[in-house]
Amino acid sequence: MENKPWEAEGLTKSEYEMIVDILGRKPNRTELGMYGVMWSEHCSYKNSKAVLRNLPTEGECVLQGPGENAGVIDIGDNQAVSFKIESHNHPSAIEPYQGAATGVGGIIRDIFTMGARPIACLDSLRFGDLEDQHVQFLFEGVVSGISGYGNCIGVPTVGGEVHFSAAYQDNPLVNAMCIGLMEHEDLATGTAKGVGNPVMVVGATTGRDGIQGASFASDELTEESEEDRPAVQVGDPFMEKLLLEASLELIKTGALVGIQDMGAAGLTGSSCEMASRGGAGIELDVDLVPKRETGMNAYEVMLSESQERMLVVPKKGKEDLVKQIFDKWDLNAAVIGKVTDDGMMRILNKGEIVAEAPARSLADDAPEYERESKKPDYLEEAQSYDWSQLEEPQDYNQALLEVLSSPNIASKEWVYQQYDHMVQTNTVVLPGSDAAVLRVKGTEKGLAVATDCNGRYCYLDPETGGAIAVAEAARNVVCSGAEPLAITDGLNFGNPLKPEIFWQFEKCIEGIGEACLSLGTPVTGGNVSFYNESPEAAIYPTPIIGMVGLLEDIEQATTIDFKDEGDLILLLGETKDELGASEYLQALYGLETGQPPSLDLDLEKRVQEVCLEAIKAGVVKSAHDCADGGLVVALAESCISGDLGAKIELVSDLAPSSLLFSESQSRIVISVAEEDLAQVKKLAAAKDIPISELGRVTGNSLVVNDLVNLEVGELKKEWTESIPTLIEG
């Protein structure tokens, strides 16, 4: 039998041969293990890099683009925001509580590593059919994992989204986003340089947990995946709270050259990435690493993914200052090595060399693949599906209630009530609106944040779906009164070695790139998660967009709820016959098919501009993105949140189903006082966008033509009780 040492580390034969070439000899097990994790998709982006290069990453506000622990953007007044999204899908599929918890811990660490204080988290979640018991187990586990970690560490979880579809049955998605606030001068980077500067590991001790987690995350899930449970890390949010405070205190002293979180690939990843960025080498002794278990060998120490640890490089002579700060917070800080000038990662054990390889080859020289791509066969048939052949519903009241109680549309209160969304006392707009809004203490400013992606659209038209994810995230931020600034992307796909999957990936990125350029929101970083497949099928392509926007005046924060009886309800944009891929088809007919709505990016931009101008002019009382579920759902949500009814008169040639439930893009429902109508119309005319008067805020029922007539209380009951009823029976 041929000996294939590369297989145990998730490498291919040709990659193994490359390593032999680099080293000029066969690697030993520790070296091979280090290459295995560093060259995994999770760390190296070897299958995605070539495509990701097409994304726009530059913009006026960008202080730090992709390549660091997190992106950073300028928000004026010498302040900056660091933000990033990251997936923890595979661990959450196996061990939902810890998988989700450590996902939150990891992304929070990325943010404070940049020198920013984390001020909010959002979580974008996808699960299978919520009536399935295993899905309920995953859903409840993930939500309580996020709650357990985020609540304890004291970072409010203010938003995100949850979607359900059979496509995610065995492969849930857990993408966590964090944003942090800093002063410009505190911007820290993960760089090791300066020969002789000490290398220190700080925070928690190192154990055998999570070994090869990054490699595990870069493989498909199978029946045997359950046996990989030891590859899932265990989180300790209390430890991370101490680490957060100690790290920020340390960064403030100016004593650091670089700091990097130990996430995927643990000590290996952090040390060789820091060395590579600084064009330096690092020599470290695994014997000096504080451990929680005895008898760990070099392989285990280098590959452990024990949580709540950081690697720091202080200036020489500042070792005691580091120790003093970490001691105050009852944390470890140990010198384990030093920066060298030969570009080598040199791993010692009690002074003896056990591994040696060029840092750059580990961190940056993973092979880059251009994978084969092929348009999938399912598309043509799906896109040509003709929904007009479906019979119109007998009762539109019933149809609306069914769409409202679909878990995708229904209130997510059951989820966000388990998250502390108010700690730090900055939450101006609570969860449940289009975007969460946070004040920036000590200024007039605010930040709006949202995540968005409709995986169904991306499955049925990846390019449009990718663009819509960006457009909708921006629209959500605009509806909250903010100017969209930049995005982070959490790119979740199946196995990239399958040409159809790679085609989905390429097309989604194309769409995202076009929308980012058009809306002026560059990509500052993100995460690629491939291999989201189970034996049955791949997930829907799900590129989750996390958008950050800025409000110059926090008083202009706008919410979705109708405010006052008698206000006029207006629609910016236009409803078209676009029921394909809609929630209506799914909820009423169990269909996830058809051509998704089209997107005109130029119109989208103008609609957003008009909405924001009107908000800044102080005439908008409520604004709500009209998206999943369609116009009547947007109206119902504004009624429910405001506890007010509306009388709506729609004039159109469209079939009632389309009129009510079409998911046409670039639409926003706003309410204004009657005397402000002319001003809004003027703004719309100046940008040449369609605007129509839909009706008025009045009474306690939602009435639409002679189609819908339901009391707000009934709408609310259906909308709020749907998810708890499904779970708790």
């Binding site: 209390f238 998250y419 108010m422 700690v423 006392t425 203490k441």
Partner: protein, 234 residues
């Protein structure tokens, strides 16, 4: 008039309480570190903030109660100093024996973060003097272990001594299953107050649903201290 906010390892509402005391009330305020036993007499009111002290891995507040600063807090309280414990701070006060009773996991077994309606039961305390008994306050909670428990005898005593300061308005408003809908209690001397809801989260109208009812609690403290100062001829 000076406030002190105690930081335990794992406190996460300490800066929020500092913000309210220093920026909203505009009073001199210090952060007080848990590791040092110290003379606290310079403070007119101590705040034990919310959070997860020591991770709350054992029982909420059970370890914080042994930190050196708590000896000083107990001395301070016994000398009549004002102490308000919010959420985890309330739990620590129970564990330290400064208030009677104990805290259990919420009946729902879930963490809950939401606005709750409270009824002011006793307006004759340093923490509620700006309210009237019967007033309804809307203040958010955020906890997994806020299910206040006390035996029947203890409850009778709390009632007889008017130590129940705020109650959740009804069974429906009770987010955790607390006995007798208790949301906050004080000691017999009225100088130590613990409550699960977070008044510091609703002391400014810009936040959340706009309720500023939490401000009434802090403003009551200031009013009480001002009057006491006048009486002392300060």
């Amino acid at each position: 008039m000076k406030f002190g906010v105690v930081t335990f390892p794992g406190s996460n509402c300490d800066q929020d309480c500092y913000h309210v005391a220093a920026e909203v009330l505009n009073k001199p305020t210090d952060m007080v570190w848990h590791k040092d036993k110290q003379d606290l007499s310079e403070y007119d009111c101590l705040i034990l903030p919310g959070g997860f002290s020591y991770g709350d891995y054992l029982r909420t507040g059970a370890i914080a109660r042994f930190s050196p600063i708590m000896e000083s807090v107990i001395e301070y309280a016994e000398a009549g100093g004002l102490v308000i414990g919010i959420c985890n701070g309330f739990q620590i006060l129970l564990e330290a024996g400064l208030l009677p009773g104990a805290m259990k996991v919420n009946d729902s077994l879930k963490f809950v973060c939401d606005y709750t309606k409270l009824e002011v039961v006793n307006d004759d305390t340093p923490f509620t003097n700006r309210c009237n008994s019967g007033d309804i306050l809307e203040i958010p909670v955020a906890h997994g272990e806020g299910n206040y428990h006390i035996d029947e005898e203890g409850l009778a005593e709390l009632i007889a001594n008017q130590q129940i300061v705020v109650r959740y308005l009804s069974e429906e408003e009770n987010p955790n299953g607390s006995v007798d809908n208790i949301a906050g209690i004080c000691n017999q001397e009225r100088n130590v107050f613990g409550l699960m809801p977070h008044p510091e989260r609703c002391s400014e109208s810009i936040l959340g649903n706009g309720s500023t009812d939490g401000y009434q609690i802090f403003a009551s403290i200031v009013e009480y201290l001002s009057k006491r100062g006048e009486e002392c001829g300060e």
